[in-house]
Amino acid sequence: MQRLPIYYIKPGMKTYEEVIDANGRVLCGKGVELTEEHIKRFEELGVNFITVEGNPVSLPWEKSLEVELKELEERFEGVTDENLLEIKRILKEFLKEKYKESEETQEL
């Protein structure tokens, strides 16, 4: 699934979860194929982001786990402080988990 800002949403995309407005009101269920009208109405009601099925848009700034970890190492190069190293460890784990999760949901 992919979370996208409203201006990236095109008709034909299917919702992965319910669409809620700023007041918590449910505007649309999940698994619904979105139409022009849907999108326009969401925009008017101030909806900013929608999670859709699949991975319809390739975002050029998204990095692979490899790149993320490499850059992480670069940022922490030469660091010896215990606390910072702990943060690095936790962050590394977190990133690995995050990528694993998204891989799993892609396969769904």
């Binding site: 992480l72 030469g78 910072l84 943060i87 962050l91 977190f94």
Partner: protein
């Protein structure tokens, strides 16, 4: 001519007092314009957009705290400032936007970093139940205002600092060597002239050197930590690519166990993901 530190400080402060314009990111100004023109836009929506830009935020706070319009040092969030000044003030602010609109794509990462720290600060403040989390988030947004001033109003000196950093010197020391002040002190100096609330000023002033904090030690430690975390995550950038030092004192002051960081990253990641769309759009529009 090698002036001593106090001479350099004097010169810099003099120039800061006379500071005329601050740069703006033209794409943000454009978006603001659009929002204002639409009558249905709510005050909240406008505040949300402004809260992504430290320069406009600082201008609005400066106005709201000006002795001419009200009580100095009272207003610390964009929302409150807009309630006080009214939304139409933005129109006039847009017109008076600085002519220093020479912002390069590479500068967007400065904005990215500040918004990241603001977001992280808010999450930390809510988690640690520190009062007025939005106020703390605003301090996070403004913490590197000094860097922007350096880049735009002290171009020559900024180049020298970049050179020193490339040669391996720590950015803070490089700033102190060239200016006699570092970016935290520059930011705080301006915020003081502008009568912003002390809580904001101290958190900005002490975010690299916690011993500078007196009345707002917790808030300063929080911004310090948020800054480190955002650098660690690699969201946006400032002068250097490396993670800055983390003072052990900060964790003690906040009573924060590092293991709780995972939870922070969990909350932070989706927000940074959404913000990324915003800043990438800005890059496209420059």
């Amino acid at each position: 001519m090698d002036l001593d530190i106090s001479e350099k400080r004097k010169i810099v402060k003099k120039k800061l007092r006379r500071l005329e314009g601050l740069p703006t990111l033209p794409p943000i100004v454009q978006r603001l314009n659009k929002l204002i023109e639409n009558e249905e836009t709510s005050l909240n929506q406008i505040a949300e957009l402004i809260e992504k830009d430290q320069v406009i935020t600082s201008k609005i706070l400066r106005l709201a705290n000006s002795a001419f319009y009200g009580f100095p040092k009272r207003i610390s969030t964009v929302q409150n400032a807009l309630m006080f000044l009214g939304v139409n003030i933005i129109k006039i602010l847009i017109i008076t936007s600085s002519i220093f609109d020479i912002i390069y794509k590479e500068d967007v990462k400065l904005w990215e970093h500040s918004v990241g720290v603001a977001t992280c600060a808010r999450i930390l403040a809510e988690k640690l139940e520190i009062k007025d989390p939005q106020e703390v988030a605003t301090a996070g947004l403004l913490h590197d205002l000094g860097k922007i001033i350096e880049k735009v109003s002290f171009k020559e000196e900024y180049k020298k600092i970049e050179e020193l950093v490339q040669d391996g010197k720590s950015p803070l020391l490089a700033e102190k060597e060239i200016f006699g002040l570092d970016h935290a002190e520059i930011g705080a100096f301006l915020m003081r002239i502008w009568n912003l609330p002390d809580r904001l000023i101290e958190a900005v002033e002490a975010h690299h050197e916690l011993e500078k904090a007196k009345d707002f030690k917790k808030e300063s430690a929080l911004i310090h930590l948020a800054n480190v975390l955002i650098h660690a995550r690699g969201y946006g950038d400032s002068l250097y690519n490396k993670v800055p030092p983390l003072e052990q004192k900060a964790l003690k002051l906040l009573n924060f166990n590092l293991l709780e960081i995972r939870e922070v990253f969990l909350k932070l990641e989706p927000k940074l993901y959404e913000l990324k769309f915003f800043t990438e759009e800005l890059r496209k529009d420059i």
